[in-house]
Symmetry: C2
Subunit: 353 residues, 2 copies
């Protein structure tokens, strides 16, 4: 059957991680940890992880693919498991080879299910390293593996926030490469190794809020990179709920109205796991700055006893919120295809456009 | 005139700071900084700050008192300026004497305007110190100065979060004293000295979210202290917007439903500076767990161009939200009088009850 959806009616989930990888991936990581425990400066080699296509199919078909079908979403922008990026672990070579394997697995998924998954890259960040390896890996993922974006960790130290603020020149090499390749970054931290921050709660949400404030206060960043685009996940952390506070702070800082600041640069995803939260997001943030996402199968895997549906079945919330069809189409696909500007050419290649 | 309001119709702002203190207070602080710059272990003495009653009147009458009248609130639970607590500065003696002066000033305000301001204590926390000095100062403030609560800083290191989690036994001495005196604590950080966190934005809101997660995951804390009560300010940080996420995380952690967890222990204030945010708070969090507050004159001092009113005039938002009168009275005074259990006896003393 050669039935093609109206592309504006595609439902693209811009935030999914491969959280169900075969155990061989975890075993490779454990060996890395053994190696750096012996010697923190251990120079890793890439090595081989032996995972068959059938193993990948098994790990996907009863999980993310099944969920896509059940929930009626078409495709997922898919990246390695965020909490496993673990940039704080080991040294630059630890992150480099771990990241290459994680991205290679994503690539294989996109080859096995080209209409369902499109790749988004993990970057081999490391707290004490510059961004050279990340620039190289982003280039490899986009130009060789067909990926359309990346996840950028604002805090590779895992809760200690030892890196410069996101508008600092430290980050410019990756922003240059993103601009050159025309790909956006989702700002996404990984596991917290800080005793006060809980990975999928306070750490994720705190990081989202922190990233937003770096960007809103940035003086030259978006002049230096006029096409740079960032997605702030988990519905923007605390930002939409405190939109009045941030608008007020912006006024006091004499920066332009926040709607102008975010217009072409900052997008929020819909990973907010209850109807009232999604309603607020839709009521507060311009529709053009919202991208559909669920992060399934992710942090919150259960069924909400209040609704009988999965907490992370965010499509239901968007379906049920008070927007017209045109607005919903923007959120489900049109905005996402604009922000991920390489997406359309991939969609054409796999006959979805 | 001996007209007395129905006490259930009082409008009590449970979160105000003395942000307009005469310059002598700041000068004292600057001298402390000079002293500890010379010698980080400098042993301060309390010394004297020469501020007259007239100076205090000047600093209040055209500021918080005027705002109370204009906005139609009756009284404010008033504590020293939160961003100036600066627990990360200096050593234990630095914080001890600074805090005593700040609290003494609050006391004088409560004596000058006994019907308008009731004291809430700053604590002399210090990152490397135990809580002995804080326990002593809380006792002094409650038993000698008539204060009804305190502000507890979960991160006296100013953004580095070097203290144990809030359910750790490290904090038990202050919880014991709070329980003994029957006073609650508002969990409130101070200025950030961390380059990544912005004091009144990402730092405040991140801390609120972090504190909530410590409490929700606490295993024995509320068994050990069955009467302990905390207010999480700024509308609970990111928590109500992500109530679905936290409910889902609670399920995965096999802890009781969050409504049960918070019921007798965790309260959110209304320092959310736009109508839609307040509406979400009211729709998501049980009314019994919400306390009216504005934090005026605080972080956001301007007028919202979208409404023509002050961003922090939160009474308007509560007035305009979709609640009945009984619910509003709970938020404006009934809940607050329950949480601050020493409040009624003070209100009687000043003839407001």
């Amino acid at each position: 059957m050669n039935y093609k959806k109206n592309p504006d009616q595609l439902i693209i989930d811009c935030h999914g991680h491969y959280t169900t990888a075969p155990s061989e991936l975890g075993e490779y990581r454990e060996q890395q940890k053994v190696d750096i425990k012996r010697d923190p400066l251990f120079e890793h080699v890439k090595g081989v992880i032996d995972i068959s296509d059938d193993q990948i199919r098994d790990s996907i078909e009863n999980a993310q693919l099944k969920m896509q079908r059940e929930r009626g979403t078409d495709l997922t922008l898919f990246s390695p498991r965020a909490s496993w990026m673990g940039h704080h672990i080991g040294n630059q070579t630890t992150s480099k080879y771990w990241t290459m394997h994680c991205n290679d697995l994503i690539y294989r998924i996109t080859q096995l299910y080209p209409k369902n998954f499109i790749g988004v890259a993990q970057l081999p960040q490391s707290p004490k390293a510059n961004l050279k390896a990340s620039v190289a890996e982003l280039e490899r993922c986009v130009t060789e593996l067909g990926f359309v974006g990346c996840n950028l960790n604002p805090d590779p130290s895992g809760g200690y926030w030892s890196s410069p603020r996101l508008d600092d020149k430290y980050w410019y090499p990756i922003y240059e490469k993103m601009s050159e390749l025309k790909v956006p970054a989702m700002i996404h931290v990984s596991a917290s190794c800080h005793h006060c921050f809980d990975t999928t709660g306070s750490h994720y949400l705190g990081a989202d809020t922190t990233a937003f404030q770096h960007f809103m206060s940035a003086v030259t960043l978006f002049k230096d990179f006029p096409e740079l685009k960032f997605i702030i996940p988990h519905g923007g952390g605390a930002v939409p709920y405190h939109w009045g506070r941030f608008r007020g702070l912006a006024e006091m800082q004499k920066i332009p109205p926040l709607e102008e600041v975010i217009l072409k640069h900052i997008y929020f995803d819909t990973c907010v796991y209850h109807q009232k939260g999604i309603d607020l997001l839709m009521n507060v943030i311009p529709i053009e700055n919202i991208l559909f996402a669920s992060e399934m199968i992710g942090a919150v895997r259960g069924i909400d006893p209040q609704t009988g549906n999965y907490f992370d079945d965010t499509k239901r919330y968007v379906d049920d919120c008070n927007l017209n069809n045109e607005q919903k189409q923007k959120i489900f696909s049109i905005n996402t295809r604009k922000v991920f500007s390489r997406l359309d050419s991939i969609l054409q290649k796999v006959d979805l456009l």
